[in-house]
């Protein structure tokens, strides 16, 4: 085959392409079916969230940041609240911390279920999409009964959460977790040993750990490459140090490992939510924080582990009620930036699989 001379050409993928999960454009230098070079073009969803946040009060920033990473909007709420709490040294009540952990982990499960469905659909299997989103709905119902929205929650506030858990939340949550745990076996049965799935994912898009660290890849993608780095353990926030859970690590760094690792994480998250539900104390759900609160001047970079990796926000306060600068850092930003470094010499169809398993959400990139 190698003596067959083909001319190199450029192929434009996106910005509106069904498999790019939004609006990412990639200019590919192709040699036949093989991708030689990738040049990602981003910014098609650049909504200037940072500029908007500079002109909002701290309480008003949170609904805007909901739209920053909507698949795990709870994490966005939380990371900003965490930054503001660190700036103003606010103590958060115990109950609020437990509710936050429950919400963050439920959101992680929802996000991974979406990943499961969408990735499978990108690679060509339609059934997982229907299954994954079916169980995701049961989590969204929990969110809706707690805070009223399915996607953009605005629930976690500076100093706590906006409302207490509603009546009947705990049994419903246990029920949803049990269902998901049971269905996980179904998910694995559908794909884990499916010969087509294996051919499409095993050994495809191997991301070496060194490249991953150099480019700032974090979260499941980094852990699938063999680096055990999870901010819940390495830079503990909230009350994660009280719960018992494992950090799943896999070592091949290919698409299959990234997929399996996320399924493992769902199990761990279920485990955490159960512990948090059992340990849920009575008490206040919110510390007293004025809606126009003014943190003292200073700066803080808060970072948490969301379902994609490190979600960070750099907040600078100048002592007024509006932040001087809000810089958001999404994991997907680095996950796209790393593509040219490792996803070369793959087939065009495999690029779709690689892109899907990196679990990129475009607004997090474009902001």
């Amino acid at each position: 085959m190698s003596d067959l001379r083909t001319e190199e050409y450029y192929l434009n993928m996106g910005p509106h392409h069904p498999s790019t999960h939004g609006v990412c454009r990639m200019v590919l230098k192709m040699d036949g079916e093989k991708v030689k070079e990738i040049e990602p073009h981003i910014g098609y969803l650049h909504r200037s969230i940072e500029k908007i946040c500079e002109n909002r009060t701290y309480a008003q920033c949170i609904p805007i940041l909901d739209r920053f990473e909507y698949v795990t909007a709870m994490s966005c709420n939380y990371v900003f609240a965490l930054a503001a709490e660190r700036l103003a040294s606010i103590e958060v009540p115990e109950r609020a911390e437990h509710i936050r952990v429950i919400m963050l982990e439920l959101n992680r499960i929802a996000s991974h279920l979406l990943f499961y469905g969408v990735t499978a659909m990108d690679i060509g299997a339609l059934t997982p999409f229907l299954y994954g989103l079916r169980e995701r709905e049961s989590i969204l119902d929990l969110f809706e009964m707690t805070c009223g929205q399915r996607l953009t929650y605005n629930y976690i506030r500076v100093g706590g959460v906006s409302r207490d858990l509603p009546n009947g939340f705990i049994p419903k949550c246990h029920e949803a977790l049990n269902t998901i745990e049971k269905k996980l076996a179904d998910y694995e049965g559908l794909l884990n040993e499916n010969p087509i799935w294996l051919v499409r994912t095993v050994g495809i898009g191997v991301l070496p750990a060194k490249v991953a660290l150099d480019y700032g890849v974090s979260g499941p993608c980094l852990r699938a490459s063999g680096v055990q780095y999870d901010l819940r353990r390495n830079d503990p926030y909230s009350i994660y140090d009280r719960f018992e859970f494992d950090i799943p690590v896999r070592h091949n760094g290919d698409c299959y490992d990234r997929y399996l690792l996320r399924l493992d994480e769902i199990r761990q998250s279920i485990h955490i939510v159960r512990q948090a539900l059992d340990a849920l104390p009575e008490g206040d759900f919110k510390a007293k924080v004025s809606p126009n609160f003014k943190p003292p001047a200073g700066e803080v970079y808060a970072r948490i582990e969301n379902s994609r990796g490190e979600l960070g926000v750099h907040v600078i306060s100048d002592g007024t009620k509006k932040p001087l600068r809000v810089k958001t850092r999404g994991a997907s930003y680095n996950h796209i930036a790393v593509l040219p470094a490792f996803a070369t010499d793959v087939l065009l169809a495999d690029l779709v699989a690689i892109f899907a398993t990196m679990d990129v959400i475009m607004p997090e990139v474009d902001r």
């Binding site: 480019y215 810089k327 930036a337």
Partner: protein, 156 residues
């Protein structure tokens, strides 16, 4: 190492190149001169005790009087965190690219260049990243930026 030990270590071993600005609410913040940036960054990455191999974030900041560039570094093996800050004048702000130290800086620097107008030396590819290719309205994240179709939120 907790954050006080880390600040002490960095102040000791950096031979005066790093000045402690603030122990910080959560992580220490150090100041470094723009001319010594690459040297310090390489040392931070390679030092056996530190191993800052992960660039979390890189923010450009417009404080109204000056520019600041903040590098948020983390060490995956030692679980450390530190902020490195470079202060730049408003006119002719220019900084050396740290891509050779952490490749992750590439896009962050491009973004800083297009949104704040901070020039990045030795970057290699300073092109528009987030803004449209035909953007000609200046640097939108600057505090004094304005445009005809830019609507400010009314103050109540």
């Amino acid at each position: 190492m907790d954050k006080d030990q880390l600040s002490a270590y960095l102040t000791d071993k950096s031979e005066g190149k790093l000045t402690l600005l603030e122990v910080g609410r959560h992580d220490p913040i150090f100041k470094v001169e723009a001319s010594q940036l690459i040297e310090v960054c390489t040392w931070l990455r390679d030092d056996e005790q530190l191993k800052f191999d992960f660039l979390c974030n890189l923010s450009g900041v417009d404080t109204g009087e000056q520019f600041e560039v903040v590098y948020q570094l983390a060490s995956t093996s030692k679980s450390l965190r530190v902020d490195i800050k470079v202060i730049l004048p408003y006119d002719g702000a220019e900084i050396e690219s740290v891509q050779k130290v952490w490749a992750a800086a590439n896009w962050h620097e491009r973004e800083m260049w297009e949104l704040y107008g901070i020039n990045v030396k030795n970057h290699g590819k300073l092109e528009f990243l987030l803004l449209p290719e035909d953007w000609d309205e200046g640097f939108p994240m600057r505090k004094d930026w304005d445009a005809p179709d830019f609507i400010r939120m009314p103050e109540f």
